[in-house]
Amino acid sequence: AMEDVSAKFVSQKISRTRWRPLPAATLQPPDIFATGSWDNEDNRISIWSAGDLGNAGLNGEYHGEPHLLCDIQHNGDVMDMQFLDQERIVVASSTGTVTIFRHHQNNQTLSANHRWEKAHCHVDADTSCGGAACTGVVCNNPEIVTVGEDGRINLFRADQKDAVRTIDNADSSTLHAVTFLRTTEILTVNSIGQLKTWDFRQQRNEPSQIFSLAGDRVPLHCVDRHPNQQHIVATGGQDGMLSIWDIRQGTMPVSLLNAHEAEMWEVHFHPSDPDHLFTCSEDGSLWHWDTSANVSEKPSFLHQGGRSTAYLSHSTINQSVVSAWLSNDPTKDRMEITNLIPNQTLSVNSLDVLGPCLVYGTDAEAIYVNRQLFA
């Protein structure tokens, strides 16, 4: 379905692409997304419309290419980006600053709404503070958590000037990414192959659990949590390996899946259809991991003896998914894996999925929108 993909060359290297969240109970597919650039002399945050809905042909195909609605200059590389709500985007900068930008939809402009200067910084011998790259940000409105090269974890609230909580030297190596596990708990991954959980209810500045890759401590670059089954976590590593972890048990990943030939930059479960997972990499590929075929073939709740049938009756699908992702069988055989970008050469730095739509951005300075992911 390559025809369904529309591309636009945007004259800036794209480090992040994010769909704007949809308002509750909408039936429309997503249309607006944001991008951030890196390694330009002048980096920008841009808001795009994926294509004119009015241009939809009879068969529902779209021909319009993404068009720019508005943009704003951003100081430093955009390292990570997350929508806080419909209007606000939180952006992590290589300068260590974290900024909330507001998208004014009535007149299509962007403005900086709030800024935490040097939220991440190195404290050197002279105790002067040099900015350290903020590598990851995650939001759960109004809470914002950021991590950085300085190994620090910050907890902000969108409406408060100062950090609610700061864990200095939380990690002795670089923290590459962060995501929420539950409302008060977060997951981080670092450059020595560790996955850690942190509980903000605990006052001590220690992780509540440390999980680690066996053997060589390959750095982990991205992390995502299963939207329904919170104990299932996916991470991507420097060697392109996809690891699935069950944080209820053990300290090592449940399965390691060979995927990319270079750094995996992002991993995302599909938010509403978590049988599907998407990963992108420095090697220029974007993989779609599909376990849905497996579900109908092998209703795996049959193997989960001891569970109550009442429980199964209202979450049959999720139970099947659990075993699909956590299966100790050679999982590859039970999964359909597709590379969505043949012949790409430069890195795919970011992707985002929402509803039937996928958006991704590359170092070849192009953004791509696929509006019929499951067609």
């Binding site: 290297k13 020595i192 560790q194």
Partner: protein, 698 residues
């Protein structure tokens, strides 16, 4: 292309005052650093600093006067330089005595925002071409190459459209002028490329050649399009004052159906001359044209064409069209009458349109090798000595003459970027058209141009990533260029460093891998990020640096009495084996953990091994022995007699083996420590002898 045959263009460096100051400069791979010296203009005229050791490009500096600069390369694409004046060296900013450093870059087009689309999109096509299968047999290989050529052209056109949009939408007249210039440059590039595609890549043969040239003219001569639109959209086109012009344009471009359609409107409005129209219409309809399929031979075509030509001749001679000068002139054009065609000079606008029209009506079966004669005479006739040919004319002429190298050379001189010549030459090389040609320097022309282009990309803040793949496809010097350029990429974040590192690792550039990791490890160390520093040196397998970092950890421990970065040290895994010191660090930490967990016998055994197996550096033995003290003082006897003897030997080795004995005697604390240890060891020995004796006895 070896000796420069024209004066190099001057490049004025904005802001550099060469009238009052001596300037000095240094060459880099893709840029020149220029700075003002303290010397006055009259002062030491030998202050030219010519550091050329790192000059990668073939450019030679022949500047006699310090400024303005002359760039003199084999091809002088991009000779106009962009000067960046924002880097200021010196302490007194803005003061008249401050000296400034200017960065002068050669490839100015690299910096045009809209062109980045061209660079990125064509990169994909370039990579596809390098991957494409050479094994494909004759015809399908040619079709593949023509498709690649068309893809390149469509990127140029897309870029042109963007640039045009930008020109239309901007309000800044200077910007508008800049965009318009770019549009015309892009349009010229596409014109040349298209002609090269027809003549070299597709190598159209007699017959199809003319059809291709007609398409080429129709695509590129668009100055008259607005006139056509105006007439066609008017209420009654045949009454429009430009009606006949439009008919002529259609005829000159061989667009017979459109011309006949227009004429039919005139005919219906003019019943008196309906017969005349019919005849002309019939002639136009019957005109034989070459076909792309092989159904008719050239001889057949020539025969038919001869017949048709004679018929036209007959009608002209018997005065059929005498009453209507418009129609008479069209008939003359059909007959290939040069004067009649030349009369429509304004409607053709260019000599190459004239050439193609002439071929259409006089030599429809022209062979590729005959083109040069018609081209030359068409240009001479069209320009008529009134104006001299422009660079574009000369390039097209060289193409018609099948002088590929001349085309590339002229383009290198005229165009302000390396993109065009690099990609075109690469394509022609894949068509196996350039193989005989070797340069007196470097490897061959393809590689030389690709190296220049990629070097330009590397001088750009963001586009350097594209350059890597181009270097990869330069078999002779690509590697060396990449090695030199990649070291100059600023590593602003770890993420960027990882990307650069990946490039180096994939190409087994061990030296660069080590250097990048070392830089990053040093940075981390300076920021007190020992964990990060260690993971960088582990990645580079840099044992010496790992030792250095381990020492920092141990030093921190000695000073503070506790370990920092436990999360790292406890999880070293196999990387612990990278350096002896790292192994010691890991093991020593393990000792502390065992001790903390009150697993004293294991802790004691490990502690002793650290010394006896010489894992611990001698400088650390005193600390280790001191660590033994609390174990010796435990209620339970932990060290066996044998172990106690070994501990004693360690202590004696340390105090005796130390040449600087004074140190211990002078230092009260050290002396006390040694005394305490001796006492503790003696007491332990006493206890263990009793204990072991008791155990054996009972």
């Amino acid at each position: 292309m070896d000796e420069p045959d024209t004066e190099p263009p001057l490049v004025v460096v904005p802001g550099a005052d060469s009238s009052s100051r001596q300037l000095c400069f240094a060459w880099g791979p893709a840029e020149v650093l220029v700075c003002e010296t303290l010397f006055g203009r009259t002062g030491g005229s030998r202050s030219r600093c010519l550091s050329r050791s790192r000059c990668l490009s073939r450019s030679r500096c022949l500047s006699r006067s310090p400024c303005p600069f002359r760039f003199w390369g084999e091809g002088r694409a991009g000779a106009a330089a962009r000067a960046l004046t924002d880097s200021v060296a010196g302490t007194e900013d803005g003061a008249p005595t401050s000296s400034r450093v200017f960065v002068v870059r050669r490839d100015q087009d690299i910096y045009i925002q809209t062109l980045r689309k061209l660079f990125n999109e064509s990169h994909g096509i370039f990579m596809g071409l390098q991957r494409s299968e050479e094994e494909l047999a004759g015809k399908s290989r040619k079709a593949q190459l023509v498709q690649v050529s068309k893809n390149y052209r469509s990127v140029i056109r897309a870029c042109m459209e963007d640039m045009h949009q930008a020109a239309v939408s901007t309000r800044d007249p200077a910007l508008q002028a800049q965009y318009s210039t770019q549009v015309s440059i892009l349009s010229a590039m596409e014109l040349i490329w298209n002609l090269c595609e027809i003549l070299f890549v597709e190598a159209a043969t007699a017959g199809p050649l003319l059809l291709r040239l007609l398409d080429w003219v129709r695509l590129h001569v668009c100055d008259v399009d607005s006139m056509v639109r105006e007439v066609l959209s008017s209420e009654s086109p045949s009454k429009h004052k430009l009606f006949w012009n439009v008919v002529d344009i259609f005829v000159l471009q061989g667009r017979m159906d459109e011309a006949r359609h227009l004429l039919s409107k005139e005919a219906s409005a003019n019943p008196t001359s309906v017969n005349m129209y019919k005849i002309l219409d019939d002639l136009m309809k019957k005109m034989p044209v070459p076909s792309l399929s092989n159904t008719q031979t050239l001889t057949e075509l020539e025969l038919k064409w001869q017949h048709w030509h004679e018929e036209c001749q007959r009608y002209l001679q018997d005065g059929t069209f005498a009453s209507n000068p418009h129609m008479e002139s069209i008939c003359k054009i059909l007959l290939g009458d040069e004067d009649a065609i030349l009369e429509k000079k304004e409607l053709m606008t260019t000599w190459y349109h004239f050439l193609v029209t002439r071929l259409l009506y006089s030599h429809p079966t022209v062979k590729p090798m005959e083109l040069r004669f018609y081209a030359q005479s068409s240009m001479d006739l069209f320009l008529g000595g009134e104006s001299s040919p422009e660079p574009l004319d000369l390039i097209l002429m060289a193409a018609f003459e099948f002088e590929m190298h001349q085309v590339i050379k002229e383009c290198s001189i005229v165009l302000s970027n390396w993109w065009f010549v690099a990609h075109l030459t690469d394509l022609l090389d894949h068509c196996k058209l350039l193989q005989s040609h070797n340069l007196h320097f470097g490897s061959n022309m393809r590689e030389f141009l690709l190296l220049e282009y990629a070097s330009g990309l590397f001088s750009h803040h963001s586009l350097w990533q594209l350059g890597v793949d181009y270097f990869d496809h330069c078999p002779e010097y690509g590697r060396v260029y990449l090695e030199l350029h990649i070291e100059r990429i600023p590593l602003s974040t770890e993420q960027k460093a990882l990307k650069v590192l990946r490039i180096c690792e994939q190409r087994q550039m061990h030296e660069q891998v080590r250097s990048i990791c070392k830089i990053m490890a040093m940075k981390a160390l300076r920021n007190n990020r020992l964990g990060s520093a260690l993971s960088w040196s582990i990645r580079a397998k840099d044992a010496a640096f790992a030792t250095l970092i381990s020492d920092r950890f141990l030093k921190d421990y000695c000073e503070r009495g506790c370990f920092s970065d436990l999360d790292l040290i406890d999880n070293l895994g196999p990387s612990m084996l990278l350096s002896d010191r790292l192994t010691f660090l890991g093991k020593y930490r393990e000792f502390h953990r065992l001790y903390g967990e009150k697993r004293f016998p294991e802790a004691a055994r490990l502690l002793l091994t650290l010394m006896t197996a010489h894992i611990a550096p001698c400088s650390f033995w005193m600390t280790l022995l001191t660590d033994a003290l609390p174990l010796l003082e435990q209620k339970e006897v932990i060290f066996s007699a044998e172990q106690t003897y070994e501990l004693m030997r360690c202590l004696e080795d340390l105090t005796a083996g130390n040449p600087d004995k004074q140190k211990f005697q002078d230092d009260d604390i050290e002396t006390t420590k040694v005394e305490m240890l001796r006492l503790a060891l003696a007491r332990n020995l006493a206890r263990v002898i009793i204990k072991e004796g008791t155990v054996e006895g009972s």
